[in-house]
């Protein structure tokens, strides 16, 4: 909610300033925005559908039962994969991760889950591809997924 207010306030300020300085440039900016919006609409819709499907099938309860029962390296891998494919708001994800940790899940598993959750976005990939290209998206997500295991391993050792 606060984000929305900030964005609209910022936009209003910038639009007024831009309109005063140059009407043509403002119209040009709006046309560009519209063009990109139309161009990326299919990927926006794809992401919407994917977010719903993954969260509908993998509800927080399902995730916690999947992570909670499996201990050891396999548990960490499952956690990393679940984190990579789901897109959970942090206000839901962190309490979930915290309760799993207190219920006996290892630091390594929870680190892997949290790291892939925030850094790897399978569900948002259609949008990332639309704006940044296939190569960029693939490389960024693969490297982040690999890095999550490194982070998880180190966190397991440190904490």
């Amino acid at each position: 909610m606060i984000t929305t207010i900030i964005i609209y306030t910022l936009l209003a300020g910038c639009l007024i300033a831009s309109w005063v300085m140059s009407r043509e440039k403002t119209i040009k900016a709006s046309k560009m925005a519209l063009k990109v919006l139309v161009k990326t609409m299919p990927s926006l819709l794809a992401v919407l559908g994917l977010v719903g499907l993954t969260l509908g099938i993998l509800s927080p309860q399902t995730i916690s039962s999947l992570i909670g029962t499996e201990a050891g390296p396999l548990g960490t891998i499952i956690a990393a994969v679940l984190g990579a494919i789901t897109l959970i708001p942090s206000l839901v994800a962190f309490p979930l991760a915290g309760s799993l940790l207190r219920a006996g899940a290892s630091v390594m598993t929870i680190s892997a889950f949290v790291t892939t959750l925030v850094m790897v976005g399978v569900v948002t990939a259609p949008m990332e591809i639309a704006y940044l290209g296939r190569r960029f998206t693939l490389l960024r997500n693969l490297l982040s997924f690999a890095a999550a295991f490194l982070i998880a391993l180190l966190m397991g050792v440190i904490l």
Binding site: T4, T26, A29, V36, L55, E128, Y131, L132, S144
Partner: protein, 187 residues
């Protein structure tokens, strides 16, 4: 043919929804609710962000972005990128068009990895929630390790992308191909 290809993912996702509705109506219902909530958020947030990006495209000159975030920006550029990423509260999907726009204006790939990574994993409002539920130690260690990893990923991707960009935000009348060539010679 091209239109079909563009909408193929949506068609597949639509079919998946129908399959889910037959197989498990309750889960399909939950899925639809989540998608609907996201749709509401996106409708509210995406148009203003795109307009802001359009204004940035029109008003901020290329050499400004290049000197702040480009090839010669060094540590200062990296710090600006992390700062830009940690402050906002918005969802990651609005950071993608921003990164694309900045890349088109001459920002370094490694800096955009820092920006996207900070936005996804290190933003301050999210860290507060993390500290509350996972503890300050967990948060501090994860923050430090993630930052180090982002620097490394940035360096790897910088090398993989030197001289080639696939950016969507382009000046009208200037094709992406021309732009890539221009950027290649300037580097």
């Amino acid at each position: 043919m091209k239109t079909i290809k563009r909408y193929l993912p949506i068609i597949i996702i639509g079919l998946a929804f129908i399959a889910l509705a037959i197989w498990d109506p309750e889960k399909a219902d939950a899925s639809l609710t989540v998608s609907r909530d996201y749709l509401k958020e996106m409708i509210l947030i995406i148009p203003p962000v795109f307009l802001l990006m359009g204004l940035l495209e029109v008003w901020i000159p290329k050499d400004k972005i290049r000197s702040w975030l480009g090839a010669g920006s060094g540590v200062k550029g990296a710090l600006i990128s992390v700062l830009l990423g940690t402050l906002p509260t918005g969802p990651l999907y609005i950071a993608f068009p921003m990164a694309a726009s900045l890349l088109g204006k001459g920002a370094k790939v490694s800096n955009m990895i820092l920006f996207l990574g900070a936005w996804a994993a290190l933003k301050i409002p999210q860290l507060v929630v993390e500290m509350k539920f996972l503890g300050p130690e967990f948060t501090a260690v994860r923050f430090t390790l993630t930052l180090i990893v982002l620097v490394i990923i940035g360096q790897i991707m910088e090398r993989a992308f030197t001289g080639r960009h696939e950016v969507l935000w382009e000046q009208p009348g200037e094709s992406v191909g021309q732009k890539t060539k221009q950027m290649g010679t300037k580097r």
